[in-house]
Subunit: 301 residues, 2 copies
């Protein structure tokens, strides 16, 4: 339901004051008398986003921070502080709460982010963890989803698909890549791959009022996607396009300066997989020619 | 469990970067190259903080905004934007989500606050709603819990107790009072009454390393507290001291300038109910003399 809800929600809030960039991108931008502030918020629900008995509460805490920092990275913002809110099941509330917090601390320490505060509740429902991350925008501005132009190259970081085999819990939010790429001034638009390459690319084209043509042979496929394909009945390529929670960067890069794009940064490959085009929609190019492409991604709700 | 958890959490986060004011006050303060930012976050869980079938989702949305704006008011901060996160039960997710959002919009419109963004999830658990509010601090600084000194007068806004009869759902976050009082420069410390007068006053004395002596005859008792006392076996005074969710301001006012304190602002009374003292703990003064006072408030968890 998320897309319809977002459209309606934007409309309903028309009469309210506005922030500089509101509902619909990876983060919101708030203007201030100093640097712009960048804010993002995400909840993880037991049973939907994680199976507590399988992954344990520390991994949930680390994932929660990672998901939000990935949103900040996709706007090339610098994280400052996170705010944690816990709804803890009554049974073992203290233990679970402490373990989640430990995971949050580990991730915050790694990425040099403060824990600004939070809220803890004990209730009769399953575990819900919630985090808001705030950061600052660079003076040179943020990457938005809406900045892609026809002709821009489609670039992804890392290799895609199969995150369910582990990466969805333990991944690197691409803050480091964003910090290295942003000063080059070659990235016109960006998002992170959370719902799957297909869905997130489609969202980017809609925000940018253009289309995208993907060369299927160029998509970097992860070993996990190959592994998954052995049991699911889907191809590794389908997993790379459709699986969510890669938490890689998806970018539109200025074609006239594409030679400035590093091949990789600290071992993480940066791969050109196609071109944004003026014809709206998602298109795939392969030996068989150009065809309409199904996003096949995970859709919220 | 909240107090022990907070103490441990502060300790665990020692090695992380710090914000200007972190875990433990009503809001966090984050320094920036412009005005300081003020951030607060609160979740409401179905069955714990509201009974959905009794109050309806719009009231939940309004309460959620009110609770967070009350925290901003208690620091004399000006709200800028809120971020909403919903975990919606699968049954009627669309309808409940839209109604909560409607309530959030109504409250945001009333207090001139933007909705900056959010996150919606559908899951198999009960309803959890979550809001983060961000605002800016005045150049003259914020009210903290920790600023009370022995000799300061204890002042409360409004009348206390019995909020379960309705006020806990429909209340005015005291932004207007804070805006009127802050420029007078007479308030040394403040918090909002969310856990009950006794508990919140105790928290304030602990943060300020002092004690408080309350004149029980001066506590302004609400009609709802009187009404509640008819059926609960507790006195109206006990309800005024112990009931949570009044969302009134509790302040420490400079005794040398107490004459600058208005008797009321727009019909909301401001009442001196006692004095902060150097002897730690909560003390009550009445016809019977001075006695140790039980906070009798609602304790999280």
């Amino acid at each position: 339901m998320e897309h319809g809800f977002i459209a309606w929600a934007k409309q309903r809030a028309m009469r309210l004051p506005k922030v500089k960039l509101g509902i619909g991108d990876d983060c919101a931008l708030i203007a201030s008398d100093g640097s712009d502030w960048v804010v993002t918020t995400d909840s993880l629900c037991e049973g939907t986003h994680f199976i507590l008995d399988e992954c344990g509460p520390q991994a949930v805490g680390r994932k929660l921070v990672g998901v939000n920092l990935s949103d900040l990275a996709s706007m090339a913002a610098s994280p400052v502080a996170v705010f944690l809110s816990l709804c803890l099941p009554r049974k073992s509330a203290d233990l679970i709460g402490a373990e989640i917090y430990e995971g949050v601390c580990q991730a915050c320490e790694k990425y040099n982010v403060a824990i600004g505060g939070g809220d803890t509740n004990v209730w009769d429902g399953p575990l819900v963890v919630h985090l808001t991350a705030v950061g600052t925008a660079s003076q040179a501005g943020c990457w938005l989803r809406s900045g892609a132009n026809p002709g821009d190259k489609i670039v992804v970081s890392g290799r895609l698909g199969g995150s369910l085999l582990g990466k969805h819990l333990e991944f690197e939010p691409r803050l480091h890549l964003a910090k290295a790429l942003h000063p080059l001034g070659i990235v016109q638009a960006a998002t992170d791959i959370s719902d799957g390459l297909g869905v997130d690319l489609l969202n980017m084209t809609v925000a940018s009022r253009c289309g995208a043509e993907v060369d299927l042979d160029l998509i970097p496929i992860s070993d996990a996607a190959v592994e998954r394909s052995k049991t699911t009945g889907h191809t590794a390529l389908e997993h790379a396009i459709g699986d969510g929670e890669d938490f890689e960067l998806l970018m539109a890069v200025d074609p006239s300066r594409i030679d400035l794009l590093p091949k990789s940064i600290d071992g993480v490959p940066l791969t050109v997989i196609g071109t944004f085009v003026s014809r709206t929609g998602l298109w795939s190019r392969s030996k068989g020619g150009v065809m309409q492409m199904q996003p096949r991604g995970y859709v919220h709700g």
